[in-house]
């Protein structure tokens, strides 16, 4: 790979922070695994053979009649009757966890929430749903939400900061005052009010949170642009007759991005926390969704079932710690004064 010496130095600095480096790999591995949640925790087999034909229930819905059942509805593979029909004329390969995040385990033998067993590895919640399965799906949605929110708020924030900083003058003055007023709004209450007007889904929550998170990078980028627009090489470009938008994109933006890059991973941890908070308060994702905040809420309502609270706490704390460790390593990597130890 052809890297400039500066990028190579940054990469080396990042690698030299062992904690952050390993955190990144652990995080990526967990994220990758959770992306395939349907193949790990599901109430349908991954593949089955019936009458010398192969079926893929995870990817395609088959009716019960396909396997000699009585109804047109989708086959319920966990039903002993259907399972028996299939196993008579073929076989099934199940995911390691035979529950999806909505699957209710009716064979608990004791009231839900039930403690961890060989079937429900982390126990069940108060509606008899498998905690391990909900955890994997919840982890996935938390990380995806965090990434999406970080991505969009970075784009909006950087664009807004760039325009203010580069143009300066009245645009900057007015925009800064608007941002100050907007930033002074009581965010949480507005979120709760908005969440009670619409039924929030993933995209609604993303949009609502975006209203308030885009400002975090604006000040930084604005300051960088204010500084950089007077650099000699920017003046030189202007003297060459280069168009203003091109000067912004080519000469100012790349240098302003360096300081933003150190902030971005911290935004991510903020985004994950925000979603968890809303879910915990009950204003987040629609009822029934797998989410880490909802798991925490269950832990709070069921102190007699400590596996709920502990699981939720450990996973959320672990996720945030990983992101913070990565953030620290990124911050170090972009620090020009950091000296590599021999």
């Amino acid at each position: 790979m052809n890297l400039s010496p500066l990028s190579r130095r940054r990469l080396n600095l990042f690698k030299s922070n062992r904690r952050g480096f390993w955190s990144l790999w652990i995080f990526l591995a967990l994220f990758l695994v959770s992306l395939f949640a349907e193949l790990i925790a599901n109430d349908k087999p991954i593949i089955l053979k019936y009458n010398d034909e192969y079926y893929f229930p995870v990817f395609k819905a088959y009716s019960e009649k396909t396997f000699g059942g009585d109804f047109e509805t989708q086959a319920s593979y966990r039903d002993p009757f259907i399972a028996g029909l299939i196993n008579d004329k073929g076989w099934m390969i199940w995911p390691p966890i035979r529950f999806s995040y909505t699957t209710i385990n009716y064979d608990l033998g004791r009231p839900a929430p039930s403690p961890p067993t060989a079937v429900n590895w982390l126990g069940t919640d108060d509606q008899g749903r498998d905690v391990a399965a909900r955890l994997i799906y919840g982890f996935r949605i938390s990380v995806l939400f965090g990434l999406a929110l970080t991505f969009f708020s970075s784009i909006i924030g950087i664009a807004a900061g760039a325009i203010q900083g580069y143009l300066g003058g009245w645009v900057d003055l007015v925009a800064q005052r608007l941002i100050e007023i907007w930033g002074g709004l009581p965010e949480l209450f507005l979120l709760i009010i908005l969440a009670s007007i619409v039924t929030p889904n993933f995209w609604w929550l993303l949009g609502i949170l975006l209203l308030f998170t885009w400002m975090s990078l604006t000040h930084l980028v604005r300051a960088e642009f204010l500084r950089a627009r007077n650099f000699d090489y920017v003046k030189a470009a202007r003297a060459l007759g280069v168009a203003e938008w091109r000067i912004m994109l080519r000469h100012v933006l790349p240098n302003a991005l360096v300081s933003s890059m150190t902030m971005v991973p911290f935004l991510m941890s903020g985004a994950v926390t925000a979603l968890t908070t809303l879910d915990f308060l009950g204003f987040g994702l629609p009822p029934g969704s797998a989410s880490l905040g909802e798991l925490l809420l269950q832990g709070k309502s069921n102190p007699q079932a400590p596996w709920l609270g502990f699981t939720g706490f450990i996973v959320i704390a672990g996720l945030l710690v990983l992101i913070i460790f990565i953030s620290e390593a990124v911050r170090d990597a972009f620090d020009p004064r950091k000296v590599l130890k021999a």
């Binding site: 400039s4 010496p5 500066l6 130095r9 080396n12 650099f231 000699d232 090489y233 003046k235 030189a236 470009a237 202007r238 003297a239 060459l240 007759g241 280069v242 168009a243 080519r250 000469h251 790349p254 240098n255 000296v339 590599l340 021999a342």
Partner: protein
């Protein structure tokens, strides 16, 4: 025994694995006798400042130090901090290059000088105050009795440097280390500071280790000179001996590279390239909520100039005199009032888009070769950018060959195209900067102190390059500088600016032979320090 004896001093910086250790100072040995002035000369990065800092135990923490520094019988390398603290400021004191950052902006000057006394003596506060007054009198701070409570920002650059000197001599040190103490102040002030140092040395009998890259100062002031190059101390001896018969090739190179030579002979044509009538750049001073204009800072005040073809106009003046503003106003990079005519067209009221066609004809070259090149662009992108704007019809190959051509023209190899600017030295960067401007084949170039950030040996090369290009393409220059030695080597006509006005102008020879204005006289005296 010598007062200070440095033997085989080495400073090494470790670098990440694949890179070798950086040997900043490689075995420097010299002595400093009581009451003498030793000049430490060398280019930036030659290790001269690090050597001096090591004498105070102030080398960067990352550096590995070895060798001996013997001060009055005491070993300073690896001496305990408590010992070093007792010596610093008391027996070895230091003056830094930039007095604005060396003084604490939150304390009054008397408080800062008093602190130096308080740290090392048992005097009562009244005795200390008396001593502060005595010191400020010694360093010649004007009206010092009324200005004890002044803050550093209320003083001028020269005055701040005087305060720094007062702090340094507060405890009558045996050794004063002066790290380029006059680089950051104007030339006219520079001379006064040097005279002050010399007078104080005679009076107090201290030894001075004077770090500089200015050979004129060395010749004028120092007793002995030590020359450093790339971390090695290559030559040491009496100033007269070294200047008369330099033994080491690097010293020889350094001595011949002082800016010399004369401007190109004038061609006999009077085609005006650019001219300005009644050019004004006034910055309004606003007050109150509604921004009422209460006055103006007159950066450039009603100037008229004319620059013919193949001609160099030298613009001289101290910092803040408006010379850079004038240059950028001519290029229409700063708003101005008045009429600017470029090759017969009035460009003073053209809009950005209409102006673009003229941009190809007039270009700037900046002072700081480190700030004027985008660190994220390769040499190819930097030089090619102007071609993209003004010659979009060029094919990729034609553009590449134009870039190659101009790189050869400015004395660089076309192989460097894919490298980034920070991989080059200051002189090479300035060549790239010049190539960026020249690749468009302009008629008029504003050179804003193009040599003042460069080492001495490189200055002469850049001047030669500029003259070569001028001869080849019939370029017109506006050469802005505060260094008259450089201006003399290139300019045909000189204007001297002072606070936005032209105080004197005329053909270069006339100005140098017979300066009229007091300010011009002071500038010439400072630049040549008597030796003409």
């Amino acid at each position: 025994m010598s007062l200070l004896e440095v033997k085989d001093l080495r400073l090494t910086f470790e670098q990440p694995a694949p890179l070798p250790s950086f040997l900043a100072v490689q075995g420097a040995s010299f002595t400093l006798e009581k009451g003498e002035m030793l000049a430490l000369v060398g280019e930036s990065g030659s290790g001269k400042s690090l050597t001096a800092l090591a004498c105070l135990g102030l080398q960067p923490e990352a550096a590995r130090i070895s060798g001996n520094i013997n001060f009055a019988g005491e070993e300073l390398v690896d001496a305990p901090q408590a010992r070093l603290k007792a010596i610093r400021g008391k027996r070895i004191a230091m003056i830094f290059q930039e007095p604005m950052t060396a003084l604490n902006p939150l304390h009054t000057i008397s408080r800062q000088i008093e602190e130096m006394i308080q740290l090392h003596t048992q005097l009562t506060s009244q005795q200390r105050l008396a001593r502060v007054l005595e010191l400020l009198g010694q360093v010649g701070l004007a009206h010092f009795k009324d200005r004890l409570d002044a803050f550093p920002h209320e003083l001028s650059g020269g005055e701040r440097q005087r305060v720094m000197i007062a702090m340094a001599i507060a405890n009558n040190p045996d050794i004063l280390i002066a790290d380029e103490p006059t680089t950051a102040v104007d030339v006219t002030v520079q001379l006064k500071i040097l005279e002050l140092l010399k007078a104080l040395q005679a009076k107090l009998g201290m030894a001075i280790l004077f770090i500089t890259h200015d050979l004129t100062i060395v010749r004028r002031l120092a007793d002995r000179v030590a020359v450093m190059s790339q971390g090695k101390l290559v030559e040491i001896g009496k100033v007269a001996d070294v200047f008369a018969a330099p033994a080491h090739p690097y010293t020889q190179h350094l001595l011949v590279s002082e800016p010399k030579g004369i401007p190109l002979p004038l061609k006999n044509n009077n085609n005006t390239v650019i001219s300005a009538q009644d050019l004004r750049v006034w910055f309004p001073i606003k007050k109150g909520f509604f921004g009422r204009v209460v006055g103006h800072i007159k950066a450039v005040n009603q100037l008229s100039i004319t620059i013919p073809e193949s001609y160099t106009l030298g613009v001289v003046g101290e910092s803040g005199s408006g010379k850079t503003t004038l240059g950028f106003a001519l290029l229409r990079l700063i708003k101005s009032q008045g009429r600017i005519t470029f090759q017969g067209t009035d460009i003073s009221s053209l809009k950005t888009n209409e102006l673009r066609a003229f941009r190809q004809q007039m270009q700037p070259v900046f002072q700081d070769p480190f700030g004027s090149l985008n660190p994220r662009m390769t040499v190819r992108q930097i030089i090619g950018e102007g071609l993209e704007v003004h010659f979009p019809q060029l094919s990729e190959n034609d553009r590449e060959s134009r870039i190659d051509e101009i790189l050869l023209e400015v004395g660089l190899s076309p192989d460097i195209k894919s490298r980034f600017a920070h991989e080059f030295s200051g002189g090479q960067r300035q060549r790239i900067s010049i190539a960026r401007a020249m690749v468009l084949h302009p008629k008029f170039v504003v050179l804003d102190e193009p040599t003042s950030a460069l080492d001495l040996s490189v200055q002469a090369q850049i001047l030669d390059l500029l003259k070569k290009l001028q001869e080849k393409w019939g370029l017109s220059y506006m050469f802005i500088s505060h260094d008259l030695r450089v201006v003399r080597a290139i300019a045909h006509h000189i204007i001297v600016m002072y606070r936005g006005d032209i105080v004197e102008q005329g053909p270069a020879e006339t100005i140098f032979a017979n300066p009229q204005h007091d300010y011009t006289k002071a500038l010439i005296k400072a630049a040549f320090m008597g030796d003409k």
